[in-house]
């Protein structure tokens, strides 16, 4: 899969990103979406101890929390990059929250959602080269270098 590495931070060009909130969106074949935290987000958070998603069936507006994560002594929300209904949560995170660190774009996904208006929400997210360049600017401005714990997916 095409991706770029910026200060060791992986950015896939086929995903859509909310750069300010550090979340990604993958559009699935059935027009549902999978949502997770970016490599930058997991690096800033550090080893994650808890990742609790909202329940299946919850309606969320864009920008509202779909999960909370706790790492070390920081707790924060994962904000939804699209509006819709949560149709699945990653149950594996209940017993192994560090999947978010090890595999932020695959096994560490947070929720799946049935979007209300996917086209409109995607239009406000960044993808491809635009996402890479936005992340390059953000990573440099914030002085971020991504860190990966043992067992992290390799790209």
């Amino acid at each position: 899969m095409a991706h770029e590495k910026i200060n060791d931070c992986v950015v896939f060009t086929n995903l859509y990103y909310s750069v300010p909130d550090n979340t990604w969106v993958r559009v699935n074949d059935d027009d549902t979406v999978t949502i997770g935290m970016t490599d930058v987000a997991q690096s800033l958070a550090g080893p994650i101890l808890h990742a609790k998603a909202k329940s299946v069936g919850t309606q969320r507006k864009k920008g509202r929390p779909i999960a909370t994560v706790e790492s070390g002594k920081w707790v924060g929300p994962v904000k939804s990059p699209v509006s819709g209904e949560i149709i699945a949560v990653n149950e594996s995170l209940g017993g192994n929250a560090q999947l978010v660190n090890r595999s932020p774009y695959n096994e560490g996904w947070i929720i799946k959602m049935k979007p209300e208006d996917l086209a409109a929400d995607l239009a406000e997210l960044l993808t491809g080269d635009a996402a890479v360049e936005a992340y390059r600017a953000k990573i440099q401005a914030d002085g971020v270098t991504c860190t990966h714990i043992e067992g992290t997916d390799e790209y």
Partner: protein, 356 residues
């Protein structure tokens, strides 16, 4: 923009938490960054955002001693809090604190450290986010993104009641509690322990605010709450004591039954390990990922009689890694001709590795 200082001084146990949560939830784009100082007049137990209350707290003791329990929105573990502590809470705009967590904690901790030093206590940052004095913890910190704010919390520890702290936590048995108490006494400190005469609390506050202004390079001016912030406080006063809020998380089954932090480098573990030869119950205190103390019990056969104590001694100061543990166990088994039917060296290693 100047930083607003709210010296709430002595407040109820509930308000010592809901003030800063309310400021964060009510924060707007034009709300000034705020530093809150407060002291809870009544003792209480405060659990971390994702903790299971029943698993963490000795609810029977708390009920019998009128100690309320509260869930906060920041992370970390359950703590006993009382009027021996001055809380320092920063509620800032997300773009006005460093993005990187370690840099953020360094900035937050700097005025605490400088204030302690000003009063003659040789405090220093113990990465990532504690403050130590001679290897003992004197400040614990927490952080969270709440509402539209980034929150960082810390404290000045004038005194610390190790007995109460040991009593309010849920532990497997009194043996564990006693070792936990001793661990706290050994690895925690306070201004009371470090100084012959406690400084005036007003002087501590004044110095701290001055050190904050220096660290942040910004002016700090006294301010008050807005009406909206008051309303939010009242809402949170109600929410934080509801059963739905307090009991929202349940425990996950695990062979590591209990893990309690004494400070960033010192932990206690309660491990139950099932083997073909019976169950091993381990109580382990680790320091810098070495076994600082280990107690072995269980329904196991271990011969010659009396050698289990010897194994505990042999395992002390051993690094918690498979190779080191295997070496020590193999040597001990060979030297003392140990027989432990159904319990292999690998069982011991796997069980002890849970304390990592």
């Amino acid at each position: 923009m100047n930083i607003r200082l709210i010296d709430a001084d002595r407040v109820s146990w509930l308000r010592s938490q809901t003030i800063y949560h309310a400021l964060a939830h009510a924060k707007k784009e034009n709300t000034p960054d705020t530093i809150v100082l407060s002291i809870p007049v009544d003792p209480y137990v405060c659990i971390g955002f994702h903790q299971d209350l029943e698993q963490e707290v000795n609810t029977g003791f708390c009920a019998a001693n009128d100690i309320p329990v509260l869930r906060r929105e920041t992370g970390g573990g359950a703590v006993y809090l009382d009027d021996g502590q001055l809380f320092t809470q920063w509620i800032f705009g997300p773009d006005r604190l460093p993005v990187k967590t370690d840099t953020r904690f360094s900035l937050f901790v700097a005025p605490l450290v400088e204030t302690y030093k000003f009063f003659g206590i040789k405090a220093y940052l113990h990465p990532p986010n504690d403050v130590h004095v001679g290897g003992k913890k004197i400040v614990g910190t927490g952080a969270a993104a709440i509402g539209n704010a980034e929150v960082v919390t810390g404290n000045f520890l004038f005194g610390f009641d190790c007995n109460r702290m040991a009593n309010v936590l849920n532990v497997p048995d009194e043996h564990f509690r006693e070792h936990f108490r001793q661990g706290l006494q050994r690895y925690m400190t306070s201004m009371q322990q470090e100084l012959e005469v406690l400084p005036d609390i007003r002087a501590v506050k004044q110095t701290y605010v001055q050190k904050c202004a220096e660290a942040l390079g910004r002016k700090i001016v006294p301010g008050t709450f807005t009406d909206e912030e008051y309303r939010m406080m009242e809402q949170l006063d109600e929410k934080f004591v509801t059963k739905e809020w307090l009991y929202q998380y349940t425990a996950h089954p695990s062979r590591l039954r209990r893990k309690v932090k004494i400070h960033a480098g010192v932990w206690m573990y309660d491990i139950a390990w099932k083997t073909e030869g019976g169950r091993i119950d381990l109580l382990i205190r680790t320091k810098a990922q070495r076994i600082d103390l280990i107690s072995i019990k269980g329904d196991l056969t271990f011969q010659p009689v009396g050698k289990l104590k010897g194994l505990e001694n042999a395992l002390r100061n051993v690094d918690i890694d498979e190779m080191s543990l295997t070496e020590v166990l193999e040597a001990f088994y060979m030297l003392h001709q140990i027989e432990s039917p159904g319990i292999t060296i690998n069982d011991w290693v796997e069980a002890i590795m849970k304390a990592k």
